[in-house]
């Protein structure tokens, strides 16, 4: 028996497997979801158990505008991917710009909300259990939005410089998968914190 690779290479039927990028991102999403679930559980578990005020009902307002912005950005990033796939690089740049803009509005809105909560309502992470769980859960989501924005901005930069071609569709698709996940998490956070938790 020869000592090298001895399995003969026969002419097999076509052999295609899922893209490793998409599989990897799907795995990351599962792991991240588990982290978010733990923070959501902590939020729900401590609802109404704060020993002092302020309570969610006192200080929280529905962030409808920025939520619409974030949800729309899922659509725009999807358009960016399909534009790139069809080789429309100009359109891809436009859709990416829109995505970054909408994500930016969301982050700015969260920043404004936090500023008001801290300086007007006097709610910090140290104040009570509501502050603890609110800032950690919303902050965890916001940090994911920030990471997504950095990545999207990089993609935009490459797109503007004409370096993003249809060869890179799959990579942009992987990134868009992450962005959809960030959006989906916001659906849960929005419902738990601002709708049912109030």
């Amino acid at each position: 028996m020869s000592t090298t690779a001895v399995i003969p290479h026969s002419q097999a039927e076509s052999w295609t497997l899922p893209s490793r990028g998409m599989v990897g991102m799907a795995c990351l999403i599962v792991a991240e979801s588990a982290i978010f679930i733990i923070f959501v559980v902590a939020y729900v578990f401590y609802l109404g158990k704060s020993l002092t005020g302020p309570t969610p009902r006192d200080v929280l307002h529905l962030p409808i505008f920025i939520s619409i912005c974030l949800f729309s950005s899922s659509y725009t990033v999807h358009r960016a991917v399909s534009a790139l796939e069809h080789g429309k690089r100009r359109a891809c740049t436009v859709w990416l710009t829109l995505t970054v803009l909408l994500g930016g509005i969301f982050i700015a809105g969260t920043a404004r909300e936090w500023h008001e909560l801290i300086y007007r309502e006097g709610l910090t992470i140290k104040t009570n259990l509501f502050g603890t769980t609110f800032y950690s859960l919303v902050g965890l989501h916001a940090s994911h939005v920030l990471i997504g924005l950095v990545m999207l901005s990089l993609a935009l930069l490459f797109s503007v410089r004409g370096q993003l071609t249809s060869r890179h569709t799959e990579r942009l698709e992987v990134l868009s998968l992450y962005w959809h996940f960030v959006d989906a998490v916001w659906v849960v956070v929005f419902l738990v914190v601002y709708v049912f938790g109030k």
């Binding site: 399995i7 026969s10 982290i35």
Partner: protein
């Protein structure tokens, strides 16, 4: 084939003719490598170093407990010893050694040239290694402002609110948290890599139902790691926020809950045991058939049982919390779930027995360890069922019975199977056989030491000896038992030294192994030992579950019998 062999020869000649590299070049080669085999070996060596360190900590504890009213170590040191022993063994021995073997074997077994994300692989290794160093740096840096010095002393499950800043000032707990956070990131990275490799990198013909069972089990383990390690990461983030940002997650003074930490920790903690034991099953699935000279019995049942364990293990965590007082319904549920998980586990044991049945069994050292594993894992499972009964657990929770039970799993099952895996795959990794003679000494000494220590350890537990006490009075009737338990530890230490010397000795003097010393059937044995950096000169194509059998027996290929 005749046209393929020269290709390899030419490629290998290039490296063979080069001069011997300078040692600094060798170091640079290993530090910057993204080769899954080198990373796998680094994982294994790093785990072995920590195995020796944490084993030494266990020895110190056994010396302290050997006689009543001993003053060999102080109570403070004892607290640090059991914390460091537990944390090290789980996070810096168990996890890296399983990922080490996974890294090495999974791509070879599915006919791939590397993992799906080689650089992520290197990153995961180095961040885990850094976590381990951070944990041990606490011996130097843990002092903090209050001179509360030294290593973490909060226990390996670090119950709140002891870990809050008020009760654990200084930095030792921070080192504990950070090191686990980092090792968790590394674990997720490697798990992600294994899943992506298994799904996207299989060679032509390697359908899911033809994958070696080892690869199947690693797939399940990695999927479990996502949903199991991540909650721990989340809990560590909360603990860090509590300690540094002044939040109140586990601060009972501000309404925080200590029980919530318990839930978060054990949601990780119990499935973690299955993450550690499934790779041991994976090794058994490869080793037992080869040394029984039979194909594995019940391949689909094995896969189904593994997936079943994966799911059920997510619903048993609170059996660690029966003594907390969760109420009758919760106790009933977790008792039931814990008992149910023994069903798929039992299926596995029966399948291994059926594989042995009627086989031509070869008692190599590897097989001896595997048979030891079968018996000991059965006993460990039986004491597990005893402890799953809530009222029984109320009596024996936090006693040495529990310690004996889980060491029976971790040492009697997992460590035995890891030893078995060493004897089986060492020839592939180094090109040389481990000495069977030293190996037999290693096996028998370790077996005697193991049973002396961990069989007898059940008894002081039944007699009421609580875990984590640094000493005990002479009139309790535990003294002679503890002395015997400690003397067993010495047998194990000597056996482990033999094992390490065998690893070193055989690396230089062992018999040359050749590509396929065991006459095995999976793809890693089709390439040279050690394999070239590219694994396979030509990507193989497989037609059944035992591709090498097909090759050696073209008149009677496995594919004839598979659906």
């Amino acid at each position: 084939m005749a046209t393929q062999t020269p290709t390899t020869a030419v490629l290998d000649q290039a490296s063979a003719q080069g001069q011997r590299p300078l040692w600094l070049e060798t170091v640079q080669d290993w530090v910057t490598t993204v080769d899954h085999k080198k990373i796998g070996i680094m994982y294994i060596c790093y785990a072995l170093i920590f195995l020796v360190v944490a084993g030494f900590e266990a020895l110190l504890m056994r010396i302290q407990l050997a006689i009543p009213n001993n003053t060999f170590v102080s109570p403070q040191t004892f607290n640090r010893l059991f914390t460091m022993h537990g944390t090290t063994m789980v996070f810096f021995v168990g996890m890296p050694i399983l990922f080490g073997f996974g890294n090495y074997l999974v791509p070879l077994m599915i006919g791939a040239r590397d993992m799906a994300f080689p650089r992520l692989n290197a990153f995961s290794f180095w961040i885990s290694a850094f976590g381990g160093l951070l944990l041990y740096f606490s011996y130097l840096g843990g002092d903090g402002l209050y001179g509360m010095g030294g290593a973490p002393d909060v226990g390996w499950f670090a119950y709140a609110p002891l870990t809050e800043r008020v009760f654990s000032p200084g930095h030792s707990t921070d080192y504990w948290t950070l090191s686990i956070l980092l090792s968790g990131i590394g674990s997720i990275g490697t798990a992600l890599n294994i899943v992506a490799t298994t799904i996207s990198m299989r060679c032509p013909g390697m359908k899911l139902n033809r994958m070696p069972l080892l690869v199947w089990l690693y797939l399940v383990v990695s999927l479990m790691a996502f949903v199991v390690v991540s909650p721990l990461t989340a809990a560590q983030i909360m603990l860090m926020l509590d300690r540094y940002a002044g939040s109140h997650f586990f601060d009972t003074q501000a309404g925080g809950s200590a029980v919530l930490w318990m839930h978060f920790f054990w949601i990780f903690g119990h499935p973690e045991v299955y993450i550690l034991v499934l790779p041991a099953f994976a090794f058994a699935n490869e080793i037992i058939p080869v040394f029984s000279r039979k194909a594995i019995f019940g391949y689909p049942a094995m896969v189904a049982a593994t997936v079943g364990i994966g799911f059920i293990s997510l619903s048993v965590w609170a059996h660690h919390m029966f003594t907390v007082g969760m109420g009758a319904w919760a106790n009933t549920f977790f008792t039931f779930a814990t008992m149910v998980i023994s069903v798929p586990t039992g299926i596995k044991i029966f399948n291994w027995l059926a594989t042995l049945w009627g086989g031509r069994i070869h008692f190599t050292v590897s097989m001896m360890f595997a048979v030891g594993f079968l018996f000991q894992f059965l006993i460990a499972g039986l004491t597990g069922i005893m402890l799953s009964v809530a009222p029984f657990d109320w009596q024996l929770g936090n006693s040495y019975f529990v310690v004996a039970h889980f060491h029976y799993v971790l040492v009697g099952a997992i460590l035995f199977m890891i030893f078995s895996a060493f004897y089986y795959w060492y020839p592939k990794m180094t090109g040389r056989m481990l000495s069977e003679k030293i190996g037999k000494w290693h096996f028998w000494l370790f077996l005697i030491g193991f049973h002396l220590t961990f069989d007898l350890m059940h008894v002081p537990g039944l007699l009421g000896m609580p875990r984590r006490v640094y000493t005990y009075e002479a009139d309790r009737g535990w003294a002679i038992l503890n002395m015997l338990v400690s003397s067993g530890a010495i047998f194990q230490a000597v056996a482990s030294l033999l094992f390490v010397s065998n690893l070193v000795y055989s690396y230089f003097k062992g018999a040359i192994a050749g590509a396929d010393p065991w006459d095995a059937w999976s793809l890693e044995w089709s390439t040279t030992s050690p394999p070239p950096p590219y694994n396979f000169a030509v990507i193989p194509t497989v037609g059944s579950r035992r591709p090498l059998w097909d090759l050696k027996h073209p008149e009677d290929p496995d594919s004839n019998y598979e659906m």
